[in-house]
Amino acid sequence: MVKRALAIILILITGYWLANALAQVPFGADKMLVGKYYLENVKDQTGAVNAVTAVVVNYRGFDTLGEVTVLFIAATGVAALLWRKKRERTAKSEGSVVLQTGSRLLLPFIMLFGAYIFIHGHLTPGGGFPGGATIATAFLMLYLAFREYEIPHRVFEPLEGLAGIGYVTVGLIGLAIGGYFLFDWIWQTWQLGHDNIGRLFSAGFIPIIYTLIGLKVGTELTGIVDNMVKEPKEGGQ
């Protein structure tokens, strides 16, 4: 009880202190400095209509590369830590008929929707991360519906690596063509799609990178789910 009271007091002090500091950062006021630059130049410099996407993929591309890496590390770490010689799925019962039929029917549509989200990342809200997560949900549903189901590992593992390699390669091509790592060579050097702003074929390498990210996020999240579902076989340590 004493510990709990201490913790509550500590937390209240922290909260008071935080609130005091935050009171100097007025809510709803215009605090933009770099942000204004982004909003004004985003269409010319990147061709994307969605400024957030442009910031994520173009201006702060290093962050996104790092973010993809973090997810990759997590997937790798999960696979490394749950690695056993023999593993199997231990679900006791199949999903209901509704779930099975529904997941079979919906699978292509969910995948299509995920693909739509990440291909249109530069026009509408969304992008590689929610798109990839949507694709992963489709596989999650298959895992829930069927007792024996497993993803095709021989496809997924190399695909995950290849998508990552693709991302870095796009960046390195930028280094070779434009002189800067992660340089948007399609938009700024080749100037493709300049008269097309606001439509699908524009925004330089954003759709390419978001497709790669979508594939990578989808395969990685599916891999995490797969590793979590399978339990070690008896005596298989």
Partner: protein
């Protein structure tokens, strides 16, 4: 007087911190961490909000003068993904610990001294 969103964000951070500091069940602690992360994300987004402006998607009708700050949104996108990555890894370690100790109570998981 601070705004409702600031209040909500700080409350979430504090509730999460409380759970991580006082709970004994590992999964509960991770739930706490997760809530804390949500709070931080809400805080970042509210810092970037400008009252009366719209989302930073510059289709017809939206100009740079009527959009909110895009940077915090980009940051939060990154932070959410990082959060879920940490959570997945943490849960994996928790599963490993459960296999070894058959409990999630941290008072009973004490292989290392100190």
């Amino acid at each position: 007087m601070i705004s409702a969103y600031y209040f909500g964000a700080i409350s979430l951070i504090l509730i999460g911190l409380y759970a991580t500091l006082t709970k004994r069940n590992l999964l509960k602690i991770l739930v706490g961490l997760s809530i804390m992360e949500t709070g931080v994300n809400l805080l970042l987004i509210s810092v970037g909000y400008v009252s009366g402006r719209t989302a930073p998607i510059l289709t017809e009708g939206a100009t740079p003068q009527t959009a909110v700050d895009p940077i915090p949104q980009a940051l939060v996108l990154t932070a959410i993904v990082i959060g879920v990555a940490t959570t997945a890894l943490a849960l994996t370690v928790a599963i490993n610990l459960y296999e070894k100790y058959k409990t999630l109570d941290i008072e009973k998981i004490r292989g290392l001294r100190g």
